[in-house]
């Protein structure tokens, strides 16, 4: 469904990712793992067109994303939950969710999707009128994921959903992501918490200094000595 072929992108003259090729099938859950600064977020930002690609192609469901401006990407069904949550702090929970269904196709089903999101995250339903910026980190993360779901995405890209969360909240967040995946949404998960990520995804790519150095199924990577030494602390 999504295919990146030889994608390179840079911030100014600093190359951030180099020759990255990854693929995600319909309904698949794929991980993008690696240390801080390995280029995981940049890969997501390249897919969302928030950073310019210097070379390579990105094809999503038959559409070439290269020439599209960033605001046209969500229309295709790609939701990007950015790193650090980044909810709209001065808007209420409900307004944040509503704006998640801004594109015309999602707007048509907005009230139904809203019910679905509230059923997945009952905590958000209790806080509809609260300003998003006044919620806890875990609640904001749920809101950010819920806002992404409002698009009714075919692909949900999550950037470090466990970042800054207490272990209990991380459990809840990963459980919810698992539920969302079971409902048929493809997931592209960026994580530093490699063991967590491997328990959720079917396949994963490992990024180091902006390039893909390893790939395989979750089981293969969990058994790999290099991965164990570098990321799993075994």
């Amino acid at each position: 469904m999504l295919k990146l072929s030889g994608v390179s992108a840079s911030y100014g003259s600093v190359p951030a990712i180099h020759n990255v090729s990854i693929e995600i099938g319909e309904g698949e859950a794929v991980g993008l793992l690696g240390a801080n600064g390995a280029g995981k977020s940049t890969t997501l930002r390249a897919i969302s067109k928030l950073v310019k690609m210097s070379s390579g192609t990105i094809i999503f469901a038959g559409t070439d994303l290269s020439t599209l401006p960033p605001h046209r990407i969500p229309e295709l069904g790609i939701a990007h939950v950015p790193e650090g949550r980044q909810v709209f702090p001065e808007m209420t929970v409900q307004e944040n969710l509503e704006i998640g269904a801004y594109v015309p196709k999602a707007k048509l089903e907005r009230s139904r999707t809203l019910d679905l999101v509230y059923s997945i995250f009952p905590r958000l339903a209790d806080r509809k009128k609260q300003l998003a910026g006044t919620m806890s980190g875990g609640e904001q993360q749920m809101l950010a994921v819920g806002r992404g779901l409002m698009l009714k995405p075919r692909l949900l890209m999550l950037d470090e959903p466990s970042l800054g969360l207490a272990p209990v909240m991380t459990d809840v967040t990963f459980e919810k992501i698992g539920e969302i995946h079971k409902m048929g949404t493809a997931i592209l998960l960026v994580e530093q918490n490699v063991s967590r990520a491997l328990s959720l995804v079917q396949r994963a790519y490992v990024l180091e200094s902006g390039s893909v150095t390893m790939q395989g199924t979750s089981a293969e990577l969990a058994d790999n000595e290099q991965v164990q030494a570098a990321y799993l602390g075994i």
Partner: protein, 289 residues
């Protein structure tokens, strides 16, 4: 004594409504597009000349000409964003500052060339009318201007909080990149923000015309007050700008009454300095809207 104070407060609130229309425009542009529009006063001036010419050529009441000045300035706002500001948006603030400053100078000098420096006035049937409440005196033209200004500010608030486009504007103001991830086209939202801000400036111009003279430099009076109100009310905060504008109108009016006819601004700027010294983020609190 109490009548004098009450009268000064009324005068201040009435003119504060006009300041509010100008400062809400400045703060809206700053909040959404993240630029300072130094030319905002010149768009008030254009609104005044539109109403002046519609009145002198066709006998149209300045308040009625609001329905011309607002759409015309909305379109000018969209064009200014799309063809000028869009080109200078980027990490560097300087081109934006120079652009709107240059636009201000250009419009000023264009007005001097086309309309000369003469003061233009429109005399309406209600220009000299006033309501009398006991000892207090409320000029009708200023009262109408105030009421319409408050209604327009309220309409903007409703737009920002109940429509999808309004919510998209608030989202873009709070986080431009993430708004883009929602499918919001930043340039489109910026065009609407500029359009609304300039339409409010145009409305201020038309509302002023029954009791104020139009001349090329008239915008400078109002833009100065608008900038103070925008800072006092916390940059980017519409309600803050509204409240601060009314406060400044009152402060100016009390200054004129009790310090001296030329000293109204002293009180206003004293307020600004005290605010900057003790609460530099303004009285609006946070970046709230």
């Amino acid at each position: 004594m109490w009548e004098t104070i009450a009268q000064a407060v009324i005068n201040g609130l009435l003119i504060g409504g006009i300041y509010a229309l100008v400062s809400i425009g400045v703060t809206l542009i700053f909040g959404v597009v993240k630029i300072v529009n130094f030319a905002q006063g010149e768009f008030v001036m254009i609104g005044m000349y539109i109403s002046f010419f519609l009145s002198s050529q066709f006998g149209i009441d300045p308040l009625v000409s609001l329905i011309v000045s607002m759409p015309v300035l909305f379109v000018i706002g969209v064009l200014v964003q799309h063809f000028l500001i869009r080109r200078v948006l980027g990490p560097n603030d300087m081109p934006q500052i120079f652009l709107t400053f240059a636009l201000s100078l250009l419009l000023l000098n264009l007005a001097l060339m086309l309309f000369s420096a003469n003061y233009r006035t429109v005399h309406t049937s209600y220009s000299d009318e006033a309501l009398h409440l006991g000892e207090l005196y409320i000029p009708v033209a200023k009262l109408i201007a105030f009421v319409v200004a408050m209604a327009l500010s309220g309409a903007l608030w409703v737009f920002l909080h109940t429509t999808d486009l309004g919510k998209a504007m608030r989202a873009a103001a709070q986080n431009r990149d993430v708004a883009t991830l929602m499918g919001i086209n930043p340039n489109r939202v910026f065009c609407v923000a500029l359009g609304i801000a300039l339409a409010l400036a145009g409305a201020a111009g038309s509302l002023l015309m029954p009791f104020y003279s139009a001349y090329p430099f008239v915008g400078q009076v109002f833009v100065l007050m608008a900038f103070v109100a925008v800072v006092l009310g916390t940059l980017g905060n519409v309600i803050g700008a509204l409240v601060a504008s009314l406060m400044m109108g009152v402060a100016e009016s009390l200054g004129i009454q009790f310090v001296g006819a030329d000293s109204g601004l002293i009180v206003v700027f004293a307020m600004l300095l005290l605010t900057l010294a003790f609460k530099p983020t303004g009285l609006g609190g946070g970046r709230a809207r």
